[in-house]
Amino acid sequence: VSAAGAATGPMPGFLRGRAWLPWAGAVLGVVALCLAPTFLLLDAEQRTLGSVFMFVVLAQGWNLIGGFAGYPSFGNVVFFGLGGYTTAVLMAKSGADFWVTVPAAAAVGLAFAVLMGIPILRLRGHYFAIATLGVAEGIREVVINIPGLTGGNAGITIPAVGEKATASYPGNTGFYFYFLVLAVISMLVVWGVAHSRFGYALRAISQDEDAAAAAGINTTRAKVAAFAISGMLTSLAGAIYAFQQVSIYPERLFSVDITVLMVVMAVIGGAGTVAGPMIGAVGLQYLSEWLRDHLTDYHTFVFGGLIVVAVLVLPMGAVNFARDAWKRRRLALFDSVRAYRL
């Protein structure tokens, strides 16, 4: 490394050695994705890819609180639902423009994460997981039971086309770009967190919270901040999703399945890493679409089986698995089982 560094002379640190390779790859990838809808993709493919990007955002949102801070939220879908309903209610009831509702949704997600996080982040392990699950289920029931505002079980419809439309409906290509931009933002946010003091504080909390507190980290503030960023990203994804769907229902927007997908994607990819949740989201969402097309009746059944197998074979995530395999030059398929079994 020193020879290469000396040879290239006065370069910024991150360009030395081979460290620029992933960066160049990421920039090229984003450029390719920006050009793709114009040249390559069919309408339906843009829609699929949009949903892939949405899950990148959701998985990264969970990654901040679950992966970095080690607090396994099982109710992150509550932010998705609140973001979606903020947008839908504002557009349908007060005729607001979509772009006005986006910051409103972000603010609602952030504020709710802080309010809920302060009492609940005192709980650890399963207690935290169950409490977040309880909040998500409870908020869904509240949304169902105030039909005057939210339409209740019958759902709410955004006036997207025709006379009453408050914003022009952007179509599949438009939503492709909305989700792409949000996915890139969430990747940058997680990268920034991973390389900051804040990120190290979160990792310390995940390793040993008491030791982290003893080392001078304000654990409450760090945890609440991580939860707030997570909630904000997730509610933004919910806002775009609501506009895309036009009609939204509490059963779908607060579905436990969405939380579980976030967790599965982040964990299978590699919780607490920057690239892992993205890889998990892309891989699993494509796999899920493929199963739906090819095994119509069995796809959820097969998906459940795949989760079981993946948990047994890849408990530390694909990214860490690949890194270990690369370092040791061998594929250790069942090493993790040996590490975690009783």
Binding site: H126, I130, N145, V311, R341
Partner: protein, 294 residues
């Protein structure tokens, strides 16, 4: 007043059934620190076993409950031994994911085999009943409640008086120490999980003879088990019974006096509040206060 008494009786009896569902869930959580998201699916497997035995052979669902209990005990033992034991030491979201995957497998397997239609097990007698002062008590629900109490009592006795029960308690308190004392922890864990699944299956058979059921109900049973286990304190069997009765009463009264499904919102609100204020449960102390994490 009669209406209130009727709601109270129904809530009490329904609470017994809820407790029967939740006792096993609470036991597994308390002893092994595993939250079993497939618990509701086990309940439904029990219901379908009893339904199949009833439609094919005309077997009474309360006898079918025993078959379901034995079948699910074996299935639960195998699942724990082969699958869950492999990730017991991993971060907790791994066991959550694993059991969620199992839940998807079982629920969708049931849909593939039995379709997503609603079923009910017909018996000649379970919807009959007697009345006291205008309050109706159906035999089916009464039997279900009696079974819940009987199972709780026998489980408490089993845990307190038998060597196996002692082994389960000891493993729950300190796994390493139990191992050093020569206990086969893998076997004890599998046994505990089997017990839990067996009780879930028994509850499912009884529930199937009282209400309609379909594979989609699995998630609801799991969530109710959460609420009850937390209310009663983890691994605390009397607590589970009390928590179940409490939840049943709240739901019955709420159904009388509140609009829509607002009562569910209240149940989850109470759950979160209890977790924040008194995570050891409302009733007494948790069964395994002295847990040493291995």
């Amino acid at each position: 007043m009669t209406q209130f008494l009727q709601a109270t009786v129904y809530g009490l009896l329904e609470g017994g059934l809820l407790a029967l569902v939740a006792i096993g869930f609470s036991l597994v959580w308390g002893v092994m620190n595993i939250v079993n998201l497939a618990h509701g699916a086990f309940v439904l497997v029990g219901a379908y076993i009893a339904w199949k035995l009833n439609t094919a052979m005309g077997l009474d669902p309360y006898l079918g409950a025993l078959v379901a209990a034995v079948g699910l005990f074996v299935a639960g033992y195998v699942v724990q031994r082969l699958l869950i034991n492999q990730v017991v030491n991993a971060p907790i979201w791994m066991t959550l994911l694993l059991t969620f995957g199992l839940n998807l497998l079982i629920v969708n397997g049931l849909i593939l085999i039995f379709s997503a239609d609603f079923r009910v097990i017909h018996t000649g007698w379970s919807s009959d009943g007697f009345s006291i002062g205008g309050v109706r008590v159906p035999y089916g629900r009464l039997t279900g409640f009696a079974m819940a109490v009987a199972v709780t009592v026998s489980l408490v006795l089993f845990m307190a008086r038998t060597k196996t029960g002692l082994a389960i308690r000891a493993t729950g308190m300190d796994r390493s120490a139990a191992r050093l004392m020569g206990m086969n922890v893998r076997h004890v864990y599998a046994l505990t999980f089997g017990l839990s699944a067996g009780m879930a299956g028994m509850a499912g058979a009884v529930i199937g003879s009282i209400n309609t059921f379909s594979p989609a109900a699995a998630g609801g049973f799991t969530l109710q088990s959460f609420v009850i286990a937390v209310l009663g304190g983890l691994g605390n069997m009397w607590g589970a019974l009390a928590g179940g009765v409490l939840l049943g009463l709240v739901q019955a009264w709420g159904g009388q006096y509140l609009a829509g499904t607002l009562v569910n919102a209240i149940a989850f609100g109470v759950l979160v509040l209890v977790l924040i204020v008194r995570p050891t449960g409302l009733i007494g102390r948790p069964f395994y206060e002295a847990r040493a994490e291995a």
